[in-house]
Amino acid sequence: MPPIIEIRNLSKEYRLGRSLQRNENFREFLKRKLSAPVHALNGSKVAAGSNNNQQDRRFWALQDVSFDVAQGEMVGLIGRNGAGKSTLLKVISRITDPSSGSVVVRGRMASLLEVGTGFHPELTGRENIFLNGAILGMRKAEIISKFDEIVAFAEIEQFLDTPVKHYSSGMYVRLAFAVAAHLNPEILVVDEVLAVGDAAFQKKCLGKMNAVSRGGRTVLFVSHNMAAVENLCQRGIVLERGRAVFDGSSKDAVHHYLTSFSGMPDSDGHIIDLTAASRISVVGPLLKRMELFTEDDRPLLEGMKIGARLKVKIHFDLPNPTNSFNIGLGFNDFFGQRMFTAHSQFEPDRTTTERVGPQVFVCDIPSLTLMPGDYTVRVWLDIGNTEADLINDAARITVIESDYYQTGKVPWNGTFVLKHRWYLEQAADERKLKASGVSADNA
C-alpha cells in the first residue's frame, strides 16, 4: 500500500525583499519595476543596493524535506520557532505553494492550523458551528448529524443562541475545538492548538485525538507540548532551519530536540530592534531596542526552559528631563490573554532621579514559571500619565519543557508552574514538632 502522504524534496523560499514588500504602494512598485532595467544598464549595483539592501534577502523556510507517512500513523513535528513546522503544514494543507518538490496526499484531509478559523463574532454559537464546520470541509448533512454531539462536547448548551463575541475566551476555545474535533477526515493536520483551553478540556481534546488515531486515521501534529507529542505520537520528526534533522520514535525525537538547545551558535538573535516596529505612540518612537538574556546573562537565542531566568534590557529615549517614567512588559499567550505584567512601578527600590536622553531599563525575572508555549511580549513606556510609546508584538518568547520540579517528570496542564510541597497528614504532625524546636526544619 502506498504511503498516505508522500513528501519529496519539498522546499519553500520566502523572498523578504521584492515580493514581500507589504507596505509598498502601487507607485513605488511601478517605480521599482521601471527603474530596474535602468539600474541594470548602468550596471550600478550600488544604486540598487543602497536603495534597498534587503531587497533580495531570501529565506528558506523549508529545505529539501522528504518523508512518508503511512496510513494510521500519528506523527509529531517538533522544532523551534521558525524551524518550518507551520510552513510545512501550510504547504501540505495547500494554503501556500511550495517553491520546489512535491507532496502527494492520498485521502480526504482536514487541517486545523488555528482554533476557530472563520468564526465570526457577530454570529451565534449555533451559526458559527455551521459556518466553521463548512469552512473546515464538513457537509451540511454531516454538521446536522453531529450538531448535538458538538454542543455537548463544547458544554455551551445555554449559550447556543448568543453571539460568540459575548463568550468567555474559554467558551470560545471549547466551541472551536468541538467543531474541529468532530471532523471526520482520513488525514488530520493540527498545528499547536492543544496548548490552549483549561486543563480538563485539554485532556478531553487529547483523548479525542487519541481516539482519532486509534480509529485508523492519520494525524500530523505540531506542538511545543512535548508531553503531548510523546504520549500521542509514535513517530516524531524534528525540523531545524527548514530541514528535517531527525526522524524516529517520538521519545527519541523529543530527546533530540531538547538536547539541541545546548551549545547554540553565536548570533545576535536576542537583540530586537524596535525602531521600525509597528507601534502606538503618542510621543514618537522612543523605544529603541530590547535585549533578552537568560541564566548567567547568556543571550536568549531560542527557547528557554520553564522556570529559567529572563532578563530584559530595554533601550529607550527620554526627550525631556523627567523623573516620572516607567516601562511595562506584558506577557501574552497564544490567544492574546495576558499571563503576567511586569512594570517598573512595582519596583520598591526604584530610583527617582531626573533623567534625559538614552536610557537602559533592566527587568530581571529570576524565574519565569510559564508553561511551555509561545508568548508575545508587549512593551510600553509611560512618561507621567501618558503611554508615550507602545509596541504590541515586540518580542516572542518560547518556553520549552524542562524538569522544573526535578522529579524527572515534565509538568503538564495549566498555565504556569509554582513551587509547591506535598505531605501526608502524619508528616504535618512531624512538621509541627519540628517547628516547635524538637528538630531542625529541612527547608
Binding site: 498516505i4 520566502y14 504602494n25 502601487f26 501556500t96 505553494d97 496526499v105 463548512a134 470541509g137
Partner: protein
C-alpha cells in the same frame, strides 16, 4: 484509504479552473453568502432597510436635481421610475464591486489559515448582495403600482440582465480583490471609480441623449447594457440591442478574464496578504 489522490507542486503561469473541486466545496459558497447576509446588517437600527434606502434616496435626489432643476427627461416612464430602475442595477453593481474587492483582505484569516477555492470569497460577496437586489426590485414593483405603470412582458428576460450584472461585478471583484492583496491602493481607488462610473453609464440620463454614432461605445461599458436591460425588462423602455448585446459580451469576457487573473495570482495570496 479512499481513491482520492492529490499532488501538490509549485504552480506557474495560468491555471485552469478546477471544476471538480468547486463542485466538492459548493456548499461552502452558500455558507459564505449566508454569513455575509447574516452579518451585514447586524447591530444596525434599520437592518435590511439599508438595502433599499440607498437607491431610494439617490433616486429622490436625482429626480429633484436632474429632473426638476435641470429638466432632464426619461425615455417614457415617470422619471422617478426611470431613475430607480437604473439605480437598482447600479447600486447592486457598485456595492458588489466594493465589497468583493475588499473581500480577500477582510478575510485574511481564512486565506492564511485554511484551504478552499479562493474564488468563493469574492464571488460570495457578490452573491450575498443578490438579496438586496431582490428587495430593491420589490420596491420598484411597488412604485410601479403607485405610478400605475404596467409591467412589460420583457420581464421574462430580466434574469439575463441580472446575470450580466453579476458577471460584471464578479469580473471586477475577482481582479480587484486579487490586486488588493498586494496593493492596498485598490481600497482607495474603488470608491472613486465607482462614483465616476455612474456618469459613463446611462443611469441618470436616457441612452438617446447620446448621439447614435457614439452609442455603440456604450456597449463597451458592461453596466450600460444591464441598466438599459433593467428598464427594458421592467418598464418596457426601448433599448438598442446592439448596446445591450455588446455589454453582455463584455461582462462575460470580463468574468472569464477575472477568473483567469485570479487563478494566476491566488497562489501567492497566503504569502503576501
Amino acid at each position: 484509504m479512499s481513491s482520492f489522490e492529490l499532488t501538490i507542486r509549485p504552480r506557474k503561469g495560468w491555471q485552469p479552473l478546477d471544476f471538480k473541486e468547486i463542485f466538492l466545496y459548493r456548499e461552502l459558497l452558500s455558507f459564505l453568502i449566508w454569513r455575509d447576509i447574516k452579518i451585514r446588517y447586524r447591530q444596525t437600527l434599520l437592518g435590511g432597510l439599508w438595502a433599499v434606502l440607498q437607491p431610494l434616496i439617490a433616486m429622490l435626489i436625482f429626480t429633484f436635481v436632474f429632473h426638476r432643476l435641470a429638466g432632464m427627461k426619461s425615455d417614457g416612464p415617470p422619471y422617478p421610475l426611470f431613475a430607480f430602475a437604473g439605480l437598482t442595477a447600479w447600486t447592486f453593481f457598485s456595492t458588489a464591486v466594493s465589497q468583493s474587492s475588499n473581500s480577500l483582505v477582510s478575510n485574511q484569516q481564512l486565506v492564511s489559515k485554511i484551504y478552499f477555492p479562493r474564488i468563493f470569497i469574492p464571488l460570495g460577496a457578490v452573491g450575498a448582495l443578490l438579496l438586496d437586489l431582490a428587495f430593491s426590485l420589490a420596491l420598484l414593483l411597488l412604485m410601479m403600482v403607485y405610478y400605475r405603470w404596467p409591467v412589460s412582458v420583457n420581464v421574462l428576460l430580466l434574469p439575463i440582465f441580472v446575470l450580466g450584472a453579476v458577471l460584471a461585478a464578479s469580473g471586477f471583484g475577482l481582479i480587484l480583490s486579487a490586486l488588493n492583496v498586494s496593493f492596498r491602493d485598490v481600497k482607495y481607488a474603488v470608491p472613486f471609480l465607482v462614483q465616476m462610473g455612474i456618469f459613463v453609464t446611462p443611469v441618470i440620463y436616457p441612452i438617446h441623449y447620446i448621439p447614435e454614432r457614439w452609442q455603440m461605445l456604450m456597449g463597451l461599458n458592461p453596466m450600460a447594457g444591464v441598466v438599459l436591460g433593467f428598464r427594458y425588462a421592467l418598464l418596457g423602455s426601448a433599448a438598442p440591442w446592439s448596446v445591450m448585446g455588446g455589454s453582455l459580451a463584455v461582462s462575460l469576457t470580463l468574468f472569464v478574464f477575472g477568473l483567469l487573473v485570479f487563478r494566476r495570482m491566488e497562489r501567492r495570496f497566503a504569502d503576501v496578504i
